[in-house]
Amino acid sequence: MNRQDLAVAHEPSARERAMLAGRVVEFVRVARTEHFRVGIQEAIDALKVAQCVDILEERQLRWALRALLCSNPADWKNFDALFDRYWQQPGANAVQITVGGELPRPRATAGGTRAPEVPYAAAQPPSRERRELDALRVGASPHEAMTRSDFRLTQLNEDTYPLEQWIESLARRMRRRLLRRHHVRNLGRRVHLRRTLRRSLPFGGLPLELAYHERRRELPRLVLLVDISRSMNAYSYFFLRFARGILDAFQNTEAFAFHTRLVHIADTLREPDRQRLKDKLAWIAAGWGGGTRIGESLQAFNREYARRLVDSRTFVFILSDGYDTGAPELLGEQLRRLRARAKRIVWLNPLLGRADYAPIAVGMQAALPHLDLLAPAHNLHSLMRIEDMLLRL
C-alpha cells in the first residue's frame, strides 16, 4: 500500500499545509459516506477551520471538526472513532499523515440518546359494541352484511368488487371530512390587525374593512406500512386496496409493504388499469412466506425513508397482526424513534376484531407503549371508524 507517514512537530511548510488541507477535505468526504449530513459548504468551512485553528494540535482540529460536522447526538458519539480511524494519530502533538490510506468501514448504527418518551394512551380495547351502522354517514353503501364480515372470510370474486371499490372510496370520504373539519373551525376568525390597518388608510384611519387571518388548510401526511407476511394473507389484499385509495386521495402519501424486508409499493399501487392492478396486488399480497421481521423492516424504514417522509405532521399507519419473529426490543426501539419524528403512530390490527384476542404477542407488547392508537381493522366497518379516530387524535 502506498503509505507515507510523516510526523510534524513544528511550524509546517506551505507544502505540508496544503497537504493537510487536502486531507481535511478528504475527511469531510469520508464523513459524508458515513452518513454525516455534510455538504460543500461544510467542506469549505472545514478548510477555513484548518487555516484558523492550530492544525498541528490534534485536539484543536478534532474539536473544531466535531463541532462543524456533527449534527445530532449519534454523530457526536461516533465522531471520535471516525476521526481516530482516519487520522490514526500516534501521539498527542503530531499528526500522522497517510496518503492514499484506506477508507474506514461503515459504522454500525448506534442508538441515539434521546429522553424516553411518555407513553401515549395506547391500548384501546377492541370495540365489541356493534351499534347500528351510521346510516347517514354511509349513504349508498354495500350490503350491510358485507361491512360487518371479517375480510378473512370474504372470498375474492366478482361479487366483492363493490367492496373493494368501497374500501378505496373510503379514503376519499376521509379526506372530505378532514377538510370540512378545517372549514368549520375557520368560523371563529381572528382579525388580521396589520391588514385591517392598511385597508383603513383610505377611510382616514377608520377600520371599516376588516381583514381576517386565514388558516392554512393542512392535510395530514400519511405513511402506510402494510404487513404482507403469510399470517396476514387473508387481509393484505384488502389493506392494499385501502392503501391505494389513500394514495389517490391524499397528496404526500407513501406506502410500503414488509414481511422480512421493506418494499416501496406506492408506484405499483398507482397503476390505473384495473386488471393489471389486480394482478399486481394479488402478487404483492401473496407475500414471500417466511417469518415477519417488523423490527428490522421498521429499522430499514427509519434509516432510509423516515428522515424524508416523516415529520411532525405525519400519521404513520402500521397494518399488521404483530406476529414478529424478530427481537421485540428492536421493534420497541425502532417504534420509539419513529414516534419521536411522527405526529401519531396508529397500529391497525385485524386480529383485534376477534372476540377472544388480546394483544399479548411479544411483538405487540413491545410496540404498545409507543403507539398512539391501536385499532381493529378486520372489516369495512372498522376501516370506516378510522376517520373518526383520526379526527379525534
Binding site: 485553528v53 474539536w63 473544531a64 466535531r66 449534527s71 429522553a115 390587525l193 388608510l201 383610505p202 419521536a340
Partner: protein, 295 residues
C-alpha cells in the same frame, strides 16, 4: 500557536463569568464567530445549555438577547410587530393635517411605530450581541424554517420598510431538549455541541466557583453523592443546576458534612429529585447507601 492561546484566553474569561467550560466547547465558541454560524447545543435538562449563552455574553462584554421558543411562536413575537394602537391614534390625530396620503402612510409605517422583537434587535445592533434561542424544539416547523432563513442570510425583510441587513453578525446559540426532531437543514446550518453531565472534577470546580462560602470537603461529598445518584435508574436525573441548588441549600442550613444528619439529608433531597416516582426510587435506605459511598 495563536488559536491555542485564544482558546485558553476564552476559557479564562468564561470562568470569570462563572462558567467552567471544556476546551472543546471553547473551540466551538471561537469557531462560531470565525465561520459566522450559529451553535446548536443539545443535552439533558440542567447541564448548563442556557448558561453558555449568558456566560459568553458576559465574557465578551456584549449584550444578551433571549428568545424563548414555545408552540405557536410566530413572526410577530419573534421578529417585529407594528404598534397598531399608536398607529391608529396617529392616523386620527393627523386626519385634519394637510398632508398627502402617501405622506401619512410613510409616517405611520416608520421606525417610530415599529416594535422590535429579539431577532430584529439582534441583527440591528452595531456591536454583535449574543442571541440565545432557547428550546428551539418547542417552536413549530414553520418558525424553524423562517429562522433558518434569517440565520443564513442575516437579513429580515419588512414589507413597509424594506430589507434590514445585519450590521454585525450576532453570536447565535440555540438550545434543544430533543422533544422534537429538528429539521436536517437547521442542523446542518449550525455548529453542534453535545453537552454531557460534567465529570467529578468539573462539577466540583463548578460548585466551588458558584456556591460562595462552601467548604471543599462538603462540596466534594455533594458532588460525589450527586454523581452516584445519576447512575441510579431515575426518570429525571439531577443536572448541574440541581447540584448547585442543593449545595446552596445545605450551605444556608449550615450543614458541615453530609453524614451528620441522615434525616435532614432526606428532607433536602427535594432539590435533586423532582418527580414522585424518583422520590420513591430513592428511599432513605438507598440514600444512606449512596451516602456511605460518598463520605
Amino acid at each position: 500557536m495563536r488559536a491555542f492561546d485564544e482558546t485558553e484566553e476564552l476559557i479564562g474569561r468564561l470562568e470569570q463569568a462563572g462558567y467552567i467550560a471544556e476546551r472543546s466547547l471553547a473551540v466551538s465558541l471561537l469557531l462560531m464567530a470565525q465561520l459566522e454560524r450559529p451553535l446548536l447545543v443539545e443535552g439533558d435538562a440542567g447541564v448548563g445549555k442556557t448558561q453558555i449563552a449568558k456566560a459568553l455574553a458576559e465574557a465578551n462584554g456584549c449584550e444578551l438577547l433571549r428568545l424563548q421558543c414555545y408552540e405557536g411562536l410566530d413572526v410577530n413575537a419573534a421578529v417585529y410587530e407594528w404598534n397598531y394602537q399608536r398607529q391608529l391614534l396617529a392616523i386620527k390625530m393627523r386626519e385634519t393635517e394637510n398632508t398627502s396620503l402617501a405622506e401619512k402612510e410613510r409616517h405611520v409605517f416608520s421606525e417610530e411605530y415599529l416594535l422590535q422583537r429579539p431577532l430584529l434587535q439582534a441583527i440591528r445592533r452595531a456591536r454583535a450581541p449574543v442571541l440565545l434561542i432557547d428550546e428551539i424544539d418547542r417552536a413549530d416547523e414553520q418558525f424553524e424554517a423562517y429562522l433558518l432563513e434569517v440565520l443564513s442570510d442575516y437579513q429580515i425583510s419588512i414589507p413597509e420598510l424594506g430589507t434590514v441587513r445585519a450590521q454585525s453578525i450576532p453570536l447565535v446559540v440555540l438550545t434543544s431538549n430533543g422533544t422534537r426532531e429538528l429539521s436536517d437543514a437547521l442542523r446542518r446550518r449550525c455548529l453542534y455541541h453535545y453537552l454531557d453531565y460534567p465529570n467529578y472534577e468539573k462539577e466540583l470546580r463548578i460548585v466551588l466557583r458558584r456556591v460562595p462560602g462552601i467548604e471543599e470537603r462538603l462540596a466534594g461529598q455533594i458532588v460525589t453523592f450527586v454523581q452516584k445518584l445519576r447512575a441510579e435508574d431515575l426518570q429525571k436525573r439531577p443536572g448541574t443546576a440541581e447540584t448547585l441548588d442543593w449545595a446552596a441549600a445545605l450551605v444556608r442550613m449550615r450543614v458541615a458534612s453530609l453524614d451528620a444528619d441522615p434525616q435532614f439529608l432526606a428532607d433536602t433531597m427535594v432539590c435533586l429529585l423532582k418527580t414522585r416516582e424518583d422520590r420513591a426510587a430513592v428511599p432513605p435506605s438507598v440514600a444512606a447507601r449512596l451516602l456511605a459511598q460518598s463520605t
